[in-house]
């Protein structure tokens, strides 16, 4: 399942990040990595608000499309 498809309140684990964009390296460094548990707090407009460990991270749907979760 793609991260883009899950519902607010759901908690999932990251299986894989694909894509070649530079921005992926940045979001990996922000804590969105394989095997990490994340929760979707909210979807607003083109963006998703995620909770990763103790931080809150906003990413756009375009990026969420490349993230496989379970």
């Amino acid at each position: 399942m793609k991260l883009e498809e899950i519902k607010p309140g759901q908690e999932v684990m990251i299986l894989n990040l694909s894509g070649k964009e530079d921005i992926l390296e940045k979001i990996k460094a922000m804590g969105l990595r394989k095997g990490r548990k994340i929760a979707l707090i909210q979807k607003v407009g083109r963006n998703l608000l995620l909770k990763v460990d103790n931080s809150r991270i906003v990413i756009s749907r375009e990026i969420a499309k490349n993230i496989e979760v379970q």
Partner: protein, 690 residues
Amino acid sequence: MKTIRVALAGNPNVGKTSLLNHLAGTNLKVGNWPGVTVEKKEGKVKFWDYEIHLIDLPGIYTLEPLSEDEWVAYNYLTTEKPDLILNVIETPNMERDLLLTVELLELEIPMILVLNMVDEAQKLGIEVREERLSDLLGVRVLKTNARTGEGVKALLPHIVEVFNSKEKPKALRYSKELEEVLQKAMETGQETKAKLIRKLSTEDRFKEYRESLKRIYAKDVYEIVKDERYATAHGIYKEVVIRRSLTARDITDSIDKLLLHPWFGIPIFLLVMFLVFKISFDFSSPFMDWIDGFIKDFLSPLTLQALDAIGVGEIIKRVVAEAIIGGVGFVFTFLPLIAVIYFMLSLLEFSGYLPRIAFLMDRFMHRLGLHGKSLVPLLLGFGCNVPAIVATKTLETKRDKLLVIAMIPFMSCPARLVVFSFFAVIFFKNPATVIFSLYLLGILTALLTAFVLRKTLFRGSLYHFVMELPPYRLPTLRLLLRVVWVYVKDFLYRAGTLIFAASVVIWLLLNLPPGVKNPSESIAGYIGKTISPIFAPLGLDDWRMSTSLIPAFLAREIVLSSMATIYAVESQEDKKEFNALKALKEQGISLLLAFKEAFINLFNPVPTAFEVEEGSVDGLKGIIAKSLSPASGLAFMVFLLLYTSCLGTVAVMWREAGKRFALLFLAYSFAVGWFFGLLAYRIGSLIWST
């Protein structure tokens, strides 16, 4: 005295700037990194026999730079090589932050690890074994609370000791196979781990080694190194952090439930913005009036009296009175407004609400091809274009930043309102509608400008929205006041240099050749007459109108006083007896009254700053009503709305976006103003011709 260069490095929002504020106190400076639009903050502290020079690097998650500010941090660390790195860690997010720590350790520069926000971590059930951490990495580990300043001063002796002993962190050990190859790539024996990794992964002569590693790990060197770094950071984290699961709710989550609510979020945001503007204007306006009065009724007569006593010539007296006090002094009256706006902006920023505005509003903004983060600077533009342009520093890409800077000057500010309310009352029965339409025209022009720029110069697609929302934190008043002071100092510096120079030039234009009695005979008058044909299509063929625009380049509202001079309206300046002591007393009393009024305004629910005062220019109104038609009056307002006739704005644009951009934009705004002025004149002439 020895100098120690210390770089503060860490992820965004870890409290580096607050830490720097507590360390450097009032010795803090803001500026720009050379060649880019990224803000540079630095400070100096004298401690023992040392001068400690602190530099706040832009927040980064990794040493693989992407955006402009990340490049700045990367270049500083790798090429300028500070004597010491203060690696600031946000303890609640330690696992993530340790990745950067590992990358910094590869640089093999002496380092101190600062565990910040330890109190927040404890509330979340996170305990750090700092001795173990210190042993593992071979660096000193200190705890601070950058919000209150606790533990911050204790960093100073450690900085000096580490600098003197040159103690280097322990060498990192990655897995055996990788380490072996890195050893083989060593040539001088002096290379840092970072250097070795760069050599190994980029240079042609190490292709063999790369291939051999690829056979062992089944992935590229780049990937191997990255995974090693993550593994090391994770390993350190597991070793030094003890987590207890607490059931206590995170306060930030609760506040976000309301402030980021799908329905209530936006009304709350609008309310917050309304309050920010109301407080900015209402609280500062009594002080602005006071400064104005202080200059006119005290400083100016006092200086003239002093100059008389010394016995200087008439020319010098006039330069001082008209160029310095009139020009620079005028800009000074904006000081309270700028200070209060910065205070409110810093409060929004340090409390953590500012990035949330970007997140909330991006849903609307991105449809216009603008980043959510652009909204705050644009809104601030209605208050004053100058701090609005400075506020674009929060945007990541140069494209987004320049796009917004090109929009801000079309946001109508109170200076324009002064001029509009003067003209609108002369010519129109319903001035409020006219003024409102002018504001709308400004917004439309801004959107049009952005649209054209996106289709031509700034074609790149909208930048991804990737951002961290920091937890809510209440900043201390001391911290906010210090930040405001830093910006005020910067403004004063500019007023004393650039604005001073421009005031003198404009004064000279109005008063040369020597001995001119009337502005019409001066260079400015000559220029005004020469350029008046340009304004003829707008129905403004009177040279007096075009000449009044020259001094108005200092700030738009000057157009009124310069018109008064040029139209030779008698101003009743009564020669009062000036008594310095008595005047000083009066100024003291009126300052107290200003304080009183400011605080009353704060609690008055209705904004008071926009109440239009009927001024002393009544005589001028009559003359203008006779010499201009309503259509040309409208054209004049439209022109002044769109043309960036404001030295402060051009100066800050020059600093933030470069000379070329500032000058080109000035020319563009002139052309747009002229074109829409022409349109307004033509349409107006049709409507009011009968």
